[in-house]
Symmetry: C2
Subunit: 209 residues, 2 copies
């Protein structure tokens, strides 16, 4: 008889992180994780398509949140404003409960080439989610692509600081600072040294009377 | 007795693409590829660390070329100029010989989730190569990161057009056009709608005598 499992996902995640922290990612099986959580292996695979997904399912939630945040942005808002509000709209995901495992998760990913590859693929998917949502609002392809990638640099930096800091702190302040840094970096790239800031006038200087 | 194998890598690549095009990537083994090339499986694995690398080894060469191109750029050149010259410096790689297999390679990658994942990881490595080379020249971290990612959007677009066009054409023209598009996209992001283009003056207008 299948019965309803309250918070099965959270229990599986807690159990997984506890076992991974003790014995490393590779040495722990899905069945053991399910066992510690008081659930079956079948339940594990109903929640996560494979073992690494215990560490990465939050990224899919995040991609949906970014997509929705951009779709919901103010009419006429410029692309970087849409990216900013989408990233800030994800702040509630980064609560104290999620912070408990964040540093362990970062350490596990850093210690495994295959987990690191999955992390890179998931980050790429975050950028693509923003790019696609911007394009759906009529932002031109390359601009949407560059804005999605730029937003992801800000998000990644803010997330890493949030996750690796031993004490919990709010995500919003970190994200704002990193978004500002990215906007400054973009301005630096296209700034004073660029051709289109001060185009040479094709006209003679105006006569001064 | 091991004897010198002239152009072993090219022969293996030719054989691999021929077999993959006929029977698909999964159905072909490294031993079969080596057999068709008149070489041994051990020789195959001296040249490629695994079967997918037959399709991706060029990306490592490209990353080295980008790194070197940025390191060799003119002193004082702005980051986007360094990225531009690095990408254009890779043009000789995209010769008629490499073009022979390019469309087949693109089709194979598009047809396989695991090859597609490897392609994403390799593209990420290209961006990182540019970012690291810029940072090594003193460009600040976020600016180097955004410039590397932006350059990669231009490179990817130019490469896709070059690879998928049935007739061979020079890479340089495509790359220039896509680099210009990326620069315009960056300018659009930081352009008129941005706060820092026309800061309101804190001073009273000058008195006009």
């Amino acid at each position: 008889m299948v019965r309803w499992q309250p918070n099965a996902r959270t229990r599986l995640e807690d159990a997984a992180l506890e076992l991974f922290a003790e014995r490393g990612f590779e040495a722990v099986s899905a069945a053991e994780i399910a066992g510690l959580a008081g659930l079956t292996k079948a339940t594990f695979f109903r929640h996560f398509r494979d073992k690494p997904e215990v560490l990465f399912w939050g990224q899919d939630l995040l991609a949906d949140t970014f997509r929705q945040g951009i779709a919901d942005g103010a009419a006429g808002a410029p692309p970087l404003e849409l990216v900013r509000s989408a990233i800030l709209s994800a702040a509630p995901i980064f609560d104290a409960d999620r912070h408990r495992h964040a540093a362990t998760r970062q350490r596990l990913i850093a210690s495994s080439p295959s987990l690191n590859e999955r992390a890179v693929l998931k980050r790429t998917a975050l950028a693509r989610a923003m790019t696609e949502a911007l394009a759906a609002r009529g932002v031109s392809t390359r601009t949407a692509e560059v804005a999605g990638l730029a937003g992801t640099t800000a998000f990644n930096a803010a997330y890493t600081q949030w996750a690796t800091n031993p004490a919990f702190r709010g995500f919003t302040g970190l994200a704002r600072r990193e978004l500002d840094r990215t906007v400054r970096a973009l301005a630096e790239l296209t700034g004073p040294a660029s051709d289109d800031v001060a185009p040479p006038s094709p006209h003679e200087p105006l006569e001064q009377n």
